[in-house]
Amino acid sequence: MKPVTQVVSPALLLLDANIDTDQIIPARFLRKPRSSGYHHYLLYDARYDMQGQPRSSSPIPESQEGAKIVLAGHNIGCGSSREGAVYAFVDYSIQVIISTKIADIFRNNAIRNGLLPIMLDQAQFDTLVAYCQTHPHADLTVDLQACEIRWETDSCLAFEIDDGSRERLLKGIDDIQSTLEWEQKIDVFAKHYLAERPWVVPGST
């Protein structure tokens, strides 16, 4: 997983509330292999009409124009657990999602794929949105080391993120590899646990 430390880019605004993962990537694309990229499918039905032609009302540019940060409406990523929704953002080169609420499973998937989820309170969020609306091409700097979002020369707001999520993102930790360090503890736990509760294993009694 690619580490996230500092991201500098303009922001893309997706301000509707409750953008669910079915909208982020419609179910019919989930069978596609990851190898050719999931960016084609990001917000597909809002980007393209039934004939596959780009819609003039598309919420995002047809081809990526350099934004790596998304400011998203309340409760982004609700609904289905499909990790494809995170792949679609990541393959579209998005590294940071900022919202007032980010759905639990989507957030979990994000921190395992190098997509930094940031939750702000409404006033902080509104400040950022107002700035980006009046300065659509201006850069924001998201600094995960300092837990700060900065813009212009002197504007800055602090955000909070738990240490475990921060470390996973900063170091690009692969959970499977890092859990190997705990293997002995897992084995000891499993042995005791299954001896105490043999009925947990299907067909054991």
């Binding site: 509707d16 509330a17 409750n18 669910d20 079915d22 909208q23 419609p26 179910a27 019919r28 989930l30 069978r31 990851r34 039905d45 039934m50 309340h74 409760n75 609700c78 609904g79 289905s80 657990s81 499909r82 990790e83 494809g84 995170v86 609420k101 759905a103 639990d104 499973i105 979990n108 998937n109 395992r112 794929n113 738990d162 240490d163 475990g164 999520s165 470390e167 692969d174 959970d175 499977i176 590899q177 859990t179 705990w182 293997e183 503890k185 897992i186 736990f189 499993a190 646990y193 509760r197 043999p198 009925w199 947990v200 294993v201 299907p202 067909g203 054991s204 009694t205």
Partner: protein, 462 residues
Amino acid sequence: MNQPHLTLFEKIWRQHVIASAGEFDLLWVDRHFVHEGSFHAFDKLDSSGRPLAYPELTIGIADHYVPSNLARLNDDPEVAGMIRLLEDNTARHQLTYLGLGHGDRGIVHVAAPELGLTLPGLIIVCGDSHTTTHGAFGALAMGIGATEVAHVLATQTLWQRRPKTMRIHVDGKLGAGVTAKDLALHIIHQIGTGGATGHAVEYTGPAVAALSMDARMTLCNMTIEAGARVGMVAPDDTTYAWLRDAPQAPKAEGLAQAERHWRTLYSDPEAHYDKAVTVDASAVAPRITWGTSPEQSIAVDEPFSPNDSEATRSSLDYMGLSVDRPILGLAIDQVFIGSCTNSRLSDLRDAARILDGGTVKVPTLIVAGSNRVKAQAEAEGLAEIFRTAGARWGESGCSMCVAMNGDSVAPGQRCASTSNRNFPGRQGPGARTHLMSPAMAAAAALNGTIVDVRQFAAGANA
């Protein structure tokens, strides 16, 4: 030192913690279900070079892509390929696999509980958000993403931050013709689609205790639509009665031992919840969604007057509705009765009671949640009632709820559906979904319009 007062959720969580690092706990996972969508995770496992840690605790079930007409399996090679991929992955890792021809196959969240694979006190995970369903048995069950699925395959564990706790207490009694689906839509309307985000929900109160296991599963299933990954009900005699009949649940001495443990699984009277909500069951009416979020619903007998907001306008626009057009009496184009929310035997019985002797006015697809439910529905004559009424009776699976198997709603068509999500495009691009209970959907099928099932039942088939 005094014992701490713990909730049901906290008891189960604590029993599964292997280690902690920062705010993350490393949890032991008792049960893991994989389906066709788990192929990304098998790819990740294979590229990690690790073997599957505990094959006896993972079960593969085909559900998302199973066509409702099996004869058409090969019409779409990509769909057939997805099922084959699961077959190959489960065979290679020597997992129990319930595939196309298997009599126990069904939607994971219907088949596993009826087989007794879902037990109180277990941590259960699956790469599907409706894993909340299994919480009906007092299990701690949650949906996870593909990277987490791969981690469980490789280690039988999961790193998680402990969510906060929330109690939803349901007082009183549900009225006649009002179901767990209506209660779920009522709660989501009350607290909002993000109202339980970051929390594990426990349902308590007399109205919850009175629910059957089927109904508890419907309620817990919809918990994710309020934002919570976990929704649970403490196990009781209703739960134990179900488990005694379930073929793969513990038997004999194993059952006695298990039951001793299960009887310790309840929230202590003085346990603290981070959030608490009370709902009056007697105030719940049959509900229908009108918008594109499960929180946008009304009681069927309530005047339609949504708040004027941008979200409302955009939902109404997508749904082809306006505030001066009431929901009651609205013409529909088709009906779907099925999904992990409402495809169990009691749901099909509810639908059959309404459809018996009538003829549907719009195309109606009825899909059992599992092959066991399907066989039972055929044995007791429900399937015959559906066919005689002109409905299509499909092979069990997720079907038109998620529109991955070839069953979908065409652009602009209005579908009365017993599923769980009315998101834009959920049942197909441009599809318009109205969520409701099986009886309400059946009544809509006979009328071609949205009706109040309570009045319908009194008059129509008398």
